[in-house]
């Protein structure tokens, strides 16, 4: 029997980034096939090509043995491919029924069509045990059920091949179990499922075969029953080529940051951070490894004062940070800065710089209160000379303080941000994805800077999805998954497999 999907030598490049390189594997019809890999492994790009959002630069795509050109999502749907995205394409204040009907209403009056579609949907729900009431409004449904609505939409459109992109990222344990039941039923009906995930447990639980991707290529394609989590983890994270960068002997000082029982629950009552406990001492780099979306961003927001925690204690050099009793975090980051906390944000363009300001104007963002003379006038002479010094020390190119910062490359922008935060001599430095969108040469220099800070006695919290970076910089490593710390190891204990397991959601054992 022909494979449902076959990729033959698919390659795709975005500018300087080779997102997919010579990807070849096939997906058997009537099976559940897992595609696993870390951030940036190329899984999402590959699926986007399958669903018609992008076209491959080279290579062939075969659906049921026939070569196909899928130029947009409509053609994908016509070919029988359906996709359940990470961010649902649902209109929240409308019913399930209306959401499914949208775009295919049939006529001006909805009444007749609604009855027909309702019958069809109930039928589908029964067949696949979906337990969705077509008359419910999306906003009244839990995330797990909303996801089933997306699946329902695809089945209604007669999808034979269903792609699920990180489906369990937003689900509870029970919801995940229900989802898997649905997928099994789907498979029994002869449909094909492609499951994109980074969670090893799920792969082992439900897939028939799994393809592992890393760095844009396929590093392994195995039958699930014939492999185990260690092998998968090893394939997924690979052997980091960089070892630990040279640094002064590990001799951490006093505790700078102490976090106890930190919890964060959002407006939808979902627990984003679960009872975090850790500390960071002077002169050490603690790295938080983990696939993005597991609470790391929220943790950085809380520690930098941009967001309030739901409960827990955070002390900085022994003194509790003043988040208690506040209604919101408006103005709080300034207080945290005064306490000696520096922050290089994950989302550079959104949080760390003002795009339309010049490099010079961005060079003191966050520290504007310290640079006033009489009448609140900014000491531009001082600012300019500081800025020029920064540009020189960090080798920013072009070294023009008056250039709009949006015109600098990502790497140079990051240098400015780092320079700014380092210049303020913080006691605690929070760094999020420091080398995202940054060229190799700059990566090395930024890493050197961080190590220099560490050697000088600064406490550093590094959040990174790049395991190589974690390996290169960390003294201690914490792994986060689903909002909790699943494990902690010293860098000497670094074991890619073990970390892969922890990242994949398997708790320390």
């Amino acid at each position: 029997m022909q494979p449902a999907v076959e990729f033959q030598h698919i390659s795709k490049r975005f500018g300087a980034v080779q997102a997919n390189r010579d990807v070849s594997f096939s997906i058997a019809s009537g099976s559940i096939h897992g595609v696993i890999g870390e951030n940036g492994a190329g899984k999402s790009t590959l699926m986007s090509i399958l669903y018609g959002y992008y076209q491959a630069d080279s290579g062939k795509l075969l659906i049921n043995g026939q070569e196909q050109q899928i130029r947009n999502s409509h053609e994908a749907i016509v070919s029988g491919i359906g996709m359940v995205h990470q961010h649902f394409m649902l209109v929240e204040n409308m019913t399930v029924l209306d959401n499914v009907m949208l775009g295919g209403e049939g006529g001006f009056r909805l009444a007749q069509r609604r009855k027909e579609v309702e019958v069809t949907l109930r039928d589908i729900c029964k067949r696949y045990n979906l337990e969705v009431d077509p008359l419910d409004k999306i906003q009244d449904l839990s995330v797990g059920v909303q996801q089933r609505v997306e699946i329902l939409k695809q089945i209604y459109r007669s999808a034979n091949i269903l792609i699920l992109d990180e489906p369990t990222a937003v689900l509870t344990v029970q919801e995940t179990a229900s989802l898997f039941e649905v997928l099994r039923l789907f498979k029994e009906q002869g449909k094909t499922i492609i499951l994109i995930t980074h969670k090893l447990q799920e792969i082992l639980e439900i897939t028939d075969e799994v393809t592992v991707m890393r760095g844009g290529t396929v590093v392994g394609s195995v039958v699930t029953a014939e492999t185990n989590k260690e092998q998968l983890a090893e394939l997924m994270v690979g052997r980091p080529i960089e070892t630990q960068l040279p640094r002064a002997a590990y001799a951490p000082g006093d505790t700078v940051l102490d976090v106890k029982g930190l919890n964060l629950i959002n407006d939808q009552q979902v627990s984003l951070l679960k009872d975090l406990n850790f500390n960071i001492r002077a002169g050490e780099i603690v790295a938080i490894a983990g696939v993005s979306g597991n609470g790391q961003s929220e943790l950085l927001e809380i520690l930098s004062g941009m967001r309030l925690p739901s409960s827990g204690t955070i002390t900085m050099q022994g003194k509790t940070l003043p988040y208690a009793g506040r209604k919101d975090a408006d103005g709080l980051p300034a207080v945290y800065r005064d306490r000696g906390i520096g922050h290089v944000p994950e989302d550079r363009l959104r949080d760390a710089v003002v795009k339309n300001f010049s490099v010079m104007m961005n060079s003191f963002l966050g520290y504007q209160k310290k640079l006033g003379k009489a009448f609140g006038l900014l000491d531009y002479k001082q600012i300019l000379s500081n800025c020029n010094e920064m540009l020189r020390k960090f080798d920013v190119r072009p070294a023009d303080p008056h250039l709009r910062i949006a015109l600098l490359s990502g790497g140079n922008q990051q240098k400015v941000v780092m320079a700014r935060e380092i210049d303020a001599n913080p006691k605690l430095m929070l760094v999020g994805q420091p080398t995202r969108g940054v060229d190799i040469g700059t990566i090395e220099s930024l890493h050197a800077r961080l190590l220099a800070m560490r050697d000088a006695g600064v406490a550093i919290l590094l959040v990174s999805v790049e395991l190589e970076e974690v390996r290169a910089l960390a003294d201690r490593i914490l792994v986060m998954s689903s909002g909790a710390i699943t494990g902690e190891l010293k860098v000497e204990e670094f074991d890619a497999t073990r970390i892969g397991l922890l990242m994949g959601g398997l708790h320390k054992h």
């Binding site: 986007s48 204040n93 775009g103 295919g104 006529g107 001006f108 009056r109 909805l110």
Partner: protein, 322 residues
């Protein structure tokens, strides 16, 4: 004191005041539910008021006037749509700009064509007819029922009945027609609508055209039915009050209409209170009473904003993203 109050005439006045707001609010409903902020209700109202009065006088036919008003209002709505949707410009600024521009232009044109100090001549009899319900003469003298039938429910201008009749129609179109479904989707989650194959920009254009048509009746009502002529700036902030009714009504037809009735009630009350001598306070000055709708608006906006939920994608021009 309470003999001065004519409660019955307050109710009748309420019914007669509400349509101005109702037409405009329904117009705003279509625009905003599709995701376009419509601050130019005031301008469309004013333009339509002028054109319908002018054409009605010139042709001595109020229906031609109404038709002309519709044409002008739709034209302005299309300009708005071009600026907001195609050019992806600032919708707030566009609305304010149109209001200011039309405030000036309507006066200038009125002056140019009629030379009466920026107003149009009195329509006299060339106004729209009132609907007298069948059998009114027979029941007229029965206490309460007579008043109820002949004055409260019956005896209003045809446009009044149109305004009230529109509410269930708008409700049906919005919730039970294909157009309404797509319109709501486009205002809540344009990306989802786009993914489902709906043309977001075209749907919004259609919504603006509907807004143009509906808002025109508001202007025609002002000039042809209520006063019989066009007067400078006669919209007097009603366009903004209509927007408040939308917030008050959570962008739903029925609740919004209730909000319009509420404002109509306050206006009617204000006319009544004018002459009344209250104990202690004495007479309440007209200007202060005229403030009431605007103060109520601020209170509504201050209090309800937290609970009132605007269409999610409102004010944000749609850009296809991947």
């Amino acid at each position: 004191m309470f003999d001065d109050f004519q409660f019955s005439s307050i109710l009748v006045s309420t019914i007669r005041n509400a349509p101005v707001l109702m037409f405009a609010a329904m117009a705003g409903l279509f625009a905003e539910r599709s995701g376009v902020v419509d601050l130019a209700l005031e301008g469309k109202m004013l333009a339509s008021a002028f054109v319908s009065a002018a054409v009605a006088f010139t042709t001595q036919n109020p229906w031609l006037g109404v038709l002309a008003g519709v044409g002008v209002s739709v034209f302005i709505a299309l300009i708005q749509a071009f600026v907001s949707i195609t050019q992806k410009g600032n919708q707030l600024v566009a609305g304010i700009a149109i209001n200011i521009a039309l405030s000036g232009l309507t006066f200038v044109l009125a002056q140019f064509f009629f030379m009466q100090g920026g107003r149009t001549p009195d329509l006299g009899d060339a106004r729209l007819f009132d609907i007298v319900l069948p059998g009114s003469a027979a029941v007229a003298n029965i206490p309460f029922i007579g008043w109820f039938y002949t004055k409260l429910i019956g005896g209003h201008s045809v446009l009044v009945y149109l305004a009230f009749g529109l509410i269930p129609l708008v409700h049906w179109v919005l919730y039970h027609s294909r157009f309404g479904l797509r319109l709501r989707a486009v205002g809540e989650n344009p990306h989802a609508a786009d993914a489902a194959g709906v043309n977001v920009e075209r749907t919004r254009f259609m919504a603006m055209i509907c807004a143009g048509v509906l808002c025109s009746f508001s202007g025609a009502y002002l000039s042809i039915v209520q006063s019989g002529f066009f007067l400078r700036d006669m919209s007097a902030g009603n366009g903004y009050l209509a927007l408040t009714a939308l917030v008050f009504g959570n962008w739903r037809p029925l609740q919004t209409a209730l909000g319009c009735l509420m404002f109509g009630f306050f206006t009617a009350l204000q006319v009544q209170i004018e002459g009344v001598v209250f104990p202690v306070i004495g007479k309440v000055p007209g200007s202060l009473i005229q403030m009431i709708p605007y103060v109520v608006t601020v209170v509504v906006l201050a209090g309800l904003m937290a609970k009132s939920v605007a269409p999610k994608a409102i004010g944000v021009p749609f850009v296809k993203s991947r």
